[in-house]
Amino acid sequence: MSRFSKSILLVALCGASVAASAFDTYGIGRQATPAEVKAWDIDVRADFKGLPKGSGTVQKGNDLFEEKCASCHGSFGESNEVFTPLVGGTTKDDIKNGRVGGFVSGDIPQRTTFTKVATISTVWDYIYRAMPWTAPKSLKPDDVYAILAYFLNLAEIVPEDFTLSDQNIAEVQKKMPNRYGMSTDHGMWPGAPAKKGGIGNGGKPDVKNVACMKNCKTEVQIGSTLPDYARTAHGELADQYRSFGPVRGTRTLDGSAAAAAPAVSPEMELATKSGCMACHGVNNKIVGPGYNEVVARYKDQADAESRLVAKVKAGGQGVWGAVPMPPNGHLADADIKKLVHWIFSGAK
């Protein structure tokens, strides 16, 4: 055996031992099983790698959309009440040019999903991963194809009798109204340019923060705050932000800049985890009624708790307006009871 091949063998052995001991090094964790990786690895790339096989018609998508999506997005994807519209603002010329003209001239009245998105794979991935809001990942690939076919028909990209499938989705990509609207020519895509094998353009981000590795500051120093005279200029900022999601407005009217965040109760965590807080606020209406409104309506009725438990489980519509509450059969009965009791005791 020549010296050359010996060193190759050595490198190969080293590689194998590193892979085997990665989880032993720190004594925690275990190798993910292939089934776990498969369940987690659901992304669909722009080149359609990862796209499951399947197909769906516009008509089926119409029915599914009406059943599962229309309560928030409107029957034609036009609703601007809960989210910005899905469809609209694109023209035949946009489909031909691959760039939404309203962005170029600057006179687009309202951004919609189809004016912005450049790759249809993104929409497929998003619906499959995150929709419906209250039951993500509940749609089958065929359902996603059907709903996407319905969108494409609404956006006048495909005809009414169209069947979208993994076979023809690449053809549809060539008709996306904003397919040339995405740029990587900015610093948000760092790394080598595509011709050198990277995903970026070599551009530099416009911030130059350096991770501190030694002699770091031990305390956070707030560099700037709203000046006192300006704090109340827009009223209570905390009430003007969405009550869900990561960003909160600061309390501006009570005078103290750093009102301590209230401790989160286990019931609140359960409600957040179960998706309740997406549509209900504690003290405010979001899509459904706020818990304070629910309590105000039912507090004098003796059997209200048990009735509401049934209602949370089965879903309902009409009591608080036209927007339906989806059924919540996936929650354990004990959890629903706990949540309803929590709501009646003030949702603290």
Binding site: E66, G74, S75, F76, E78, G88, L154
Partner: protein
């Protein structure tokens, strides 16, 4: 210019039919000016009616205050699966359009 089809959906539930329609129309008010300063001529729907199996259930007069591509939703008593609901409009240029769907 050829008119574009409306999107209509009608669903009957408990003896009440809910009709939703998305109407494709420019709805130009006649008050706007283009880049050269010339007034863009008014072009809007003046009348819109909805009929159920030929009987008018909604008649309305539209004007320039209504947005581009208007969305219309209303309910009427009666209607059963399979019945025809037709939406038709006329605009100030004399164009008109009627689209029909079956109640689902």
């Amino acid at each position: 210019m050829a008119t574009k089809p409306m999107r209509i959906r009608a669903a009957a539930k408990d003896g009440v039919t809910e009709v939703k329609a998305l109407i494709a129309h420019e709805m130009e008010t006649g008050q706007r000016k283009d880049a050269n300063g010339a007034v863009i001529p008014a072009w809007f729907i003046t009348e819109l009616s909805v009929s159920h199996n030929g009987k008018v259930v909604l008649a309305s007069e539209f004007g320039t205050a209504v947005s581009k591509n208007p969305y219309l939703a209303f309910k009427f008593k009666g209607g059963a699966t399979g019945d025809k609901v037709a939406v038709s409009w006329k605009d100030n240029k004399g164009e008109s359009r009627t689209d029909e769907v079956a109640i689902g």
